[in-house]
Amino acid sequence: MIKISNSKLIIIFTKLLILLVIAKLISVVVWWFLPSHGMELSTKENYQPKYQRVSFMTMIEADVKVKSKQKDSGESITNMLLKGLYGKGKNGFVIVAMKATSKKTTIVEVGEKYEGYKLESISAKSAMFSKNGLDFMLSLDKIKVDGIVTKVQNKDNVSYEESSIVYRDDITYYSKNPKQIWKDISIKEIKDGKKTKGFKVTRIVNGSKFANLGLKKGDLIIKANNIRLQSYKEVLSIYNTLDKLDMIQVVVLRANEEVELVYEIN
């Protein structure tokens, strides 16, 4: 009878088993020193409100008269004043008052009724009301203040500059020709320790579209659309939504003073 313990196979098997155990032990030791969880991209919640700009030009009391009132009707609402409006189409609100009590204003949302007139829609300079199946248009004809207030100091020590117009065609052109951007302007990320403080304009070509937008050499761009620019992520998130934006607000630090630049996108 052959002893199993003397079998060559058992010897090989034992050796292989020992090697397996050693390999496993090494892997356990390695596992002990390796991290047990991975990294995840932490997305910070933005508690700052999204930028929304209300044009105060249309909020200021105006010499308003009813321009066109009736549609297939002789009725009019000449006793009503349209003092301001905000929004477009079926979204927004208007500020109205009765001529007799012009100081007592009321905010009326689209769909709401005022003195029996239902606000149907809002356009650029007028509001459409309806009553008894008839439509009435109330217009802002003349506004006392013509232009946005410039260089007004507020509590936050932010200066406001006039809004400029940015054309979508230009945005499309620059997005397709990024090299042209760097020919016209140089921007450098400025860090305060590990955090990004802002993006500094280190060079700007005179006469370029960027110069026409009011940016100046040395400006430190710190905010855009009410979002503090603390990394390229915030910059790109705004860039990605440019198609949907009608307005961009940029806050720059210029000579230790915050200056707000507002651009309308047309």
């Binding site: 090697l19 390999a23 990294m39």
Partner: protein, 177 residues
């Protein structure tokens, strides 16, 4: 002589194979992820699976400097020491890049082998065409050769302007780090 050495070679190979199998690949992946994070590259939302001799990573979101840059449907990592490869399949780049390059990349294979220890090689195929890249570890230089698809010369001329044509008429891009 060979007869005497052969068993030892066989045992060594067996030991290495066992070691690769038992290596905690997922934890190794976490370690690599931490190293990449220091360079601003972050892989998140992924699902990892230890497949014995390879590590599979599914649905990875790749971010650079906290900017979401690409989504990778699956990654296969084979780290054997003497031969290492990373196979990335079905990559969709972020829409931010849409002005520069077609957003879909079919696959990219990165290889580092002991037979060519100074170079890390990469091959890729996508809507942009095909590329071959070589990174010299010692000289810290990158060389890329591109065979562009037709769409590149129609829609992405500006991207192609970054490449120069070599003697063989191939588009090349070189960068020193």
């Amino acid at each position: 002589m060979v007869k005497k050495i052969a068993p030892y070679i066989a045992y060594t190979i067996f030991f290495l194979v066992a070691l690769i199998y038992f290596t905690p690949k997922i934890n190794f992946y976490y370690f690599l992820e931490a190293q990449l994070e220091e360079k601003g590259v972050l892989i998140s939302d992924e699902v990892t699976k230890d497949k014995g001799y390879a590590l599979k990573v599914y649905n990875a979101n790749l971010s650079y400097s906290s900017i979401e840059s690409a989504e990778i449907a699956d990654i296969a990592l084979k780290i054997y020491g003497v031969y290492n490869s990373i196979y990335l399949n079905n990559i969709t780049l972020t829409t931010t890049a849409k002005s520069f390059i077609p957003l879909h990349v079919d696959n990219v294979k990165v290889i580092y082998s002991i037979l060519n220890p100074l170079n890390i090689k990469a091959y890729g195929v996508g809507a942009f065409g095909e590329f071959y890249a070589k990174f010299n570890v010692l000289e810290q230089t990158l060389h890329v050769e591109l065979k562009p698809a037709e769409i590149m010369s129609v829609k992405y001329k500006n991207t192609l302007n970054n490449f120069s044509e070599n003697e063989d008429g191939e588009l090349c891009y070189d960068k020193n780090f």
